[in-house]
């Protein structure tokens, strides 16, 4: 993100974002209100912005009204949630190279907090992509976590009965 001053003398802010897999460069005046001259990747947009509550704003563009609600790392507009990521241009460029290759070890992470109730494989087992590896329970529901790739179980990081946090690595398949 950066700051500047446009021709008219209005302080502007530049925000680099990634939305839906696309890099975007948004420029906006530092002060929110009516008649804000913004641009997205250079395309001009005149917006009328009103913050109603922290994380809730009304956006008027050419009369169209959008209720926008901030939700974690996403914004909800018209009932749909759009994930976004704010970045400075260098790190964004750096990250673009790293990818979702299928080579190398792949971790299986807990998608939610819960408790480990069953381990269906052992270290060293050969597994298929989509094969169930472990079962965790939360909110009265048991959920199988599946292998992200065909390979071999390299590590099982938890034991039956363990509490797990969201994002914890449970199993590694290589």
């Amino acid at each position: 993100m950066g700051c500047g001053r446009a021709a008219g003398g209005v302080a502007t802010v530049t925000v680099w974002l990634e939305v839906g897999g696309e890099k975007r460069r948004v420029e906006l005046p530092a002060e929110f209100g009516a008649g804000m001259e913004c641009s997205v990747d250079g395309r001009p947009i005149v917006a009328d912005v009103r913050v109603l509550q922290a994380g809730v704003l009304s956006l008027l563009i050419d009369g169209r009204q959008y209720r926008c609600v901030l939700d974690g790392d996403g914004v909800v507009i018209g009932g749909r949630r759009f994930e976004f990521e704010v970045a400075d241009p260098r790190s964004l460029q750096g990250r673009r190279g790293a990818g979702a290759g299928t080579d190398g070890p792949r971790p299986v992470k807990a998608p939610m907090p819960g408790r480990m109730v069953r381990v269906l494989v052992e270290v060293g087992d050969a597994v298929e992509e989509g094969q169930a590896l472990i079962v965790i329970e939360a909110m009265k529901m048991q959920n199988e976590l599946k292998s992200p790739k065909t390979g071999r179980v390299a590590r099982i990081a938890v034991a039956v009965g363990d509490a797990v946090g969201s994002g914890d690595v449970l199993v590694v398949v290589e």
């Binding site: 925000v15 906006l28 956006l59 939700d71």
Partner: protein, 498 residues
């Protein structure tokens, strides 16, 4: 009155008690000290740690609270101890009124196998199958061969899809029997399973009953609960689009007959499968208030919890069958903390933003709030959103309007799934059966909302990012005691490097 439950149903019962001038005692586990049912009660007592087995299932502790507070009645809600005949008996022994049927009726109708015998005695049609629990795989194979495949294995105790398995070939029956039995054992403490013929594309339609101690029992119309996932109801409505006046009367009278034959008192529900030819088959009886009772309240104009309490006080029902008139259409969506886009994984956690719908025809039974941390220890239901309108089509459109207004931030919910269902042609035409939702979910989902231009999304995201920056650049963020600035939270999550 002691309310031996949590969540929206505990709050719903507390509200009814307040309306009737009855003082309320809430109980809570360690995960629920800050829950809304505690906040709305006159008194509240801790039961124990978060796991239900150490808190809401501890009938002994609950009766100890009743004794200590002088509560003379216990409302069990649904789930937990609501269908536990031992607990009902313990209440009676302690001189505390259990808001529900007598333990004897609960025993007779609560076990699916016993209920099937009672249904046969009451000449109620039921799906062909075993009447009693199956001794072993051999017996299962014998019964299945007699009625023909496909068949369904079911746990004799409990419900909610646990311990159920559909079997289409004899080869698969052995494994399914073992799996169903062990799941039933785990879930309900009894591995007893039975078996019945699988009805193809059946609708799940149930009759709401209310019976008093004076031998009177009325049926309050039906609810259709065919929209299910993994045998869990997702959307319920009243009336059913396919139940005629005549079918309603026949099902209602059969259900009331069964209840009366068992000496049933208080609210209860008889579940049926209904096939394309308007045949109905007895499925089971739920000897308690159901999650989906609000849709019946909307179309009958009655309040079932008020009626439960009055019946439990020994009053006669204030209405006869002729007084029951259905009007309009009601739909309920069960809003869950789960992620429909990721295998419906549960999504407990902090609700950082809550914008609730309201206005004409909208009722919400909800027990969460902005700042509430949805615990991972219980059912993921956050709220029951109900829409009422003169016609089914209007009720659907009204629900869509309400769902559009609804925002629950911080956790994942199935709100988007409801929008998809409610806009689906088959659902709107009432072409639904218990397999409908699984079929819908197998299809690729088209986005159900209007398109938002990409540049608008980018601009909105940038505005939030810029706001977060203003927030964090000025001064270090200060946290409230249980709540903190969402701007700051968002800023941190996004790893803003400013």
């Amino acid at each position: 009155m002691l309310i031996a439950n949590r969540g929206e149903i505990a709050l719903r019962v507390i509200r009814a008690c307040r309306e009737m001038g009855i003082a309320t005692v809430a109980v809570y586990s360690d995960a629920d000290r800050g829950a809304l049912h505690v906040l709305h009660a006159d008194e509240a007592y801790r039961l124990g740690p978060a796991p239900a087995a150490e808190s809401y299932l501890r009938g002994d502790l609950i009766l100890e609270v009743a004794r200590r507070t002088g509560a003379d009645a216990v409302h069990p809600g649904y789930g937990f101890l609501s269908e536990n005949a031992e607990f009902a008996e313990a209440c009676a022994k302690a001189g505390v009124t259990f808001i529900g049927p007598p333990a004897s009726a609960m025993r007779m109708l609560g076990s699916k196998t016993k209920a099937r015998q009672a249904a046969d005695a009451a000449a109620m049609p039921r799906v062909p199958g075993s009447v009693t629990g199956l001794a072993d795989v051999a017996e299962a194979l014998r019964v299945a061969a007699g009625i023909g495949y496909p068949v369904m294995l079911k746990a004799a105790a409990g419900g909610g899809g646990k311990g159920m398995r559909a079997v289409t070939r004899a080869e698969d029956l052995g494994a399914a029997f073992t799996a169903a039995s062990s799941e039933a054992e785990r879930s309900f403490g009894s591995g007893e399973v039975y078996l019945e013929k699988l009805i193809e594309r059946p609708r799940h339609i149930e009759i709401q009953l209310m019976a008093d101690e004076h031998g009177s029992c009325v049926y309050l119309g039906e609810r259709e609960c065919s929209v299910q996932r993994r045998h869990q109801k997702v959307i319920e409505e009243a009336p059913s689009a396919v139940v005629s006046e005549d079918l309603r009367r026949r099902m209602g009278e059969a259900a009331a007959r069964l209840a009366l034959s068992a000496g049933y008192v208080n609210a209860g529900t008889v579940e049926f499968l209904v096939d394309d030819a308007e045949n109905f088959y007895f499925l089971e009886m739920n000897t308690r208030l159901q999650v989906e009772h609000p849709v019946t309240e909307m179309v009958t104009g009655l309040d079932l919890v008020h009626l439960q309490l009055r019946v439990a006080m020994g009053e006669p029902l204030p209405l006869t069958q002729e007084d029951v008139r259905l009007r309009g259409h009601a739909i309920e969506c069960r809003i869950y903390a789960e992620d429909p886009e990721n295998h419906f994984f549960p999504s407990p956690g902090l609700i950082t933003r809550l914008i609730q719908p309201s206005g004409p025809g909208i009722r919400e039974d909800c027990a969460v709030y902005e700042g509430w941390n949805v615990p991972l220890d219980y059912d993921p239901m956050l709220s029951k959103l109900v829409a009422f309108a003169p016609t089914r089509e209007q009720a659907i459109d009204r629900m869509l309007r309400a769902l559009e207004e609804y925002v629950i931030g911080g956790i994942k919910t199935n709100i988007g799934l409801f929008r998809r269902i409610l806009m689906d042609e088959d659902f709107r035409a009432a072409r639904i059966d218990t397999g409908y939702l699984e079929r819908l979910l197998a299809e690729p989902a088209a986005p159900v909302s209007e398109d938002v231009p990409e540049d608008v999304v980018a601009l909105a995201a940038a505005l939030f990012a810029a706001s977060a920056r203003r927030e964090t650049v000025g001064a270090p963020s200060v946290s409230g005691v249980s709540e903190e600035s969402r701007w700051a939270v968002a800023g941190r999550r996004e790893g803003l490097r400013l």
